[in-house]
């Protein structure tokens, strides 16, 4: 590094304001980022924040920088590397054993992700659409037949994504209740650290047992295919495949579920957009509305987490090997350089440049499935229950402000 760049860096860094992360959202719109973090972005697309352990990782808020950095192989997702900006004390003690490829770097990440890729193509996910439509219709039937008000999170949003993943993995119908019970503990907020670990082990044990059954009598599903193609050949152990199944569940359950509830709420608080949605009958328009929900509603509110394994030069800054980094998709998704009037929820805009699914080699593998689920829900729910409305005052709603994934604890609805 030259003397000149050292001085420049020091000047920029001294002038840099550091804010805590995370911080509460402003009152007003429950989807808006904290004002202090917006203020950081106004000073520059790369700043620093202070996290729970007093470390000060880089904080990336610009859209262009988000994409450039997540495409850079100098960024590592390896949670065992020194300097990784863990979400919390609890997640910093993660065990080495059951680490999934979400937390690995290439080439091992690529090797494991590639095994799943054929099961996650857009065409394959589209094949699940009729089944998902039926599931959504049945859940709405049950809601309409039952007592009012209903907690939409419990009656609908938690249930559908877990049933969809059960179908994808190949959980037989006779096990669905068990599977749903096991997964529900994992996403319940009151579950303590020990209970969560137990739940995780129970689920892994269940998946192992299921994989052994699939090895005996394979069917056409993800676990059967991988059991036959990869476990029999010795490329994966049964435990590794169970861990992969677990990753798919963890990555695709609560995220999609929170999105279903928050998106439903987003329309209930915005009559103009709801009217627009109700007037849409072209699936392309509904798909566009889903993209705008993904842009506006911050599900992965704790940002992408990375640690640098090499120095990176960007925007006149030197980001040093060993430093941590938080890349905020929610601020990138509000970058006025890319999205006009970024704070306006407008389901007719072209929002497809959002980075809600991440960017670079770890970009969400399940995105075609998340899209199908959300398109079916938003295309069906309000058409079937046009009088759907909140059953409590907005001020009574409780948000998962400290969750890895942002969402609503409950969403009481009536019609």
């Amino acid at each position: 590094m030259t003397q000149e760049s050292v001085t420049q860096e020091r000047v920029t860094q001294d002038a840099m304001d550091v804010q805590p992360f995370p911080l509460p959202r402003p009152s007003g719109c429950p989807f808006d980022p904290a004002n202090e973090h917006r203020a950081l972005h106004e000073q520059g697309p790369i700043s620093r924040v202070e996290i729970w352990n007093k470390s000060t990782p880089w904080f990336v808020t610009g859209h262009e920088e988000h994409k450039a950095l997540l495409s850079d192989p100098a960024l590592s997702s390896d949670v065992h590397r020194a300097g990784f900006p863990h979400f919390s004390e609890a997640t910093s003690h993660r065990q080495t054993d059951d680490v999934t490829f979400l937390h690995m770097d290439d080439p091992e990440h690529a090797r494991q992700r590639r095994m799943l890729m054929p099961r996650f193509t857009k065409a394959r996910m589209e094949m699940m659409r009729p089944g998902i439509q039926q599931m959504v219709d049945e859940h709405i039937d049950a809601m309409l037949a039952g007592p009012k008000p209903v907690d939409f999170v419990d009656a609908f949003a938690l249930s559908i994504p877990s049933l969809v993943i059960a179908e994808l993995l190949g959980v037989p119908h006779s096990d669905l209740e068990k599977f749903q019970d096991l997964t529900r503990v994992l996403v319940t907020r009151t579950t303590g650290v020990d209970d969560a670990r137990n739940a995780q082990n129970n689920l892994l044990d269940y998946l192992e047992e299921l994989i052994n059954r699939k090895l005996e009598a394979p069917t056409d599903d993800l676990l059967s295919q991988l059991a036959v193609d990869r476990v029999r050949t010795g490329e994966l152990t049964v435990r590794e495949l169970a861990t992969t199944g677990f990753l798919v569940l963890v990555a695709g359950h609560e995220t999609t579920s929170n999105m279903m509830a928050l998106a439903t709420y987003a329309f209930l608080r915005d009559q103009e957009q709801l009217d627009k949605l109700l007037g849409m009958d072209d699936p392309k328009q509904i798909a566009g509305a889903v993209e705008e929900c993904l842009r506006m509603i911050p599900i992965f509110q704790m940002g992408r987490r990375r640690v640098l394994k090499d120095d990176v030069e960007i925007n006149g800054l030197t980001l040093k090997s060993g430093e941590g980094m938080i890349l905020s998709s929610e601020l990138a998704n509000r970058d006025p350089k890319v999205f006009e009037n970024p704070d306006v929820f407008d389901i007719e805009r072209d929002a497809r440049r959002h980075v809600a699914f991440g960017y670079g080699v770890h970009q969400c593998l399940g995105q075609p499935l998340a899209r199908v689920e959300l398109q079916v829900v938003l295309g069906t729910l309000f058409k079937r229950i046009p009088t759907l409305r909140l059953a409590v005052d907005e001020s009574k709603l409780e948000f998962k402000n400290d969750g890895l994934s942002y969402g609503l604890v409950r969403l009481p609805l009536t019609w």
């Binding site: 997540l70 690529a110 992700r113 890729m117 054929p118 857009k122 065409a123 080699v361």
Partner: protein
């Protein structure tokens, strides 16, 4: 316009298929993207450029 993909680096997120399904598809066997139409007609150019911008692995090459 000429379109190509670096298959070795494709991560199979299907963003390109979403953007321009006449031009891109994914192979059933491995989920890797393929170019169906390497010289797409003019109406598709905007969608193909959008696919290239949004491809998370940056592997879509366009020559104009």
């Amino acid at each position: 316009m000429k379109v190509s993909i670096c298959e070795a680096k494709c991560i199979g997120a299907g963003v390109c298929v979403d953007a321009a399904e006449e031009v891109f598809s994914q192979r059933d066997e491995d989920g890797i993207a393929i170019v169906l139409d390497a010289e797409p007609r003019a109406e598709l150019h905007a969608a193909v450029r959008e696919a290239a911008v949004n491809c998370p692995a940056g592997v879509i090459e366009i020559q104009e």
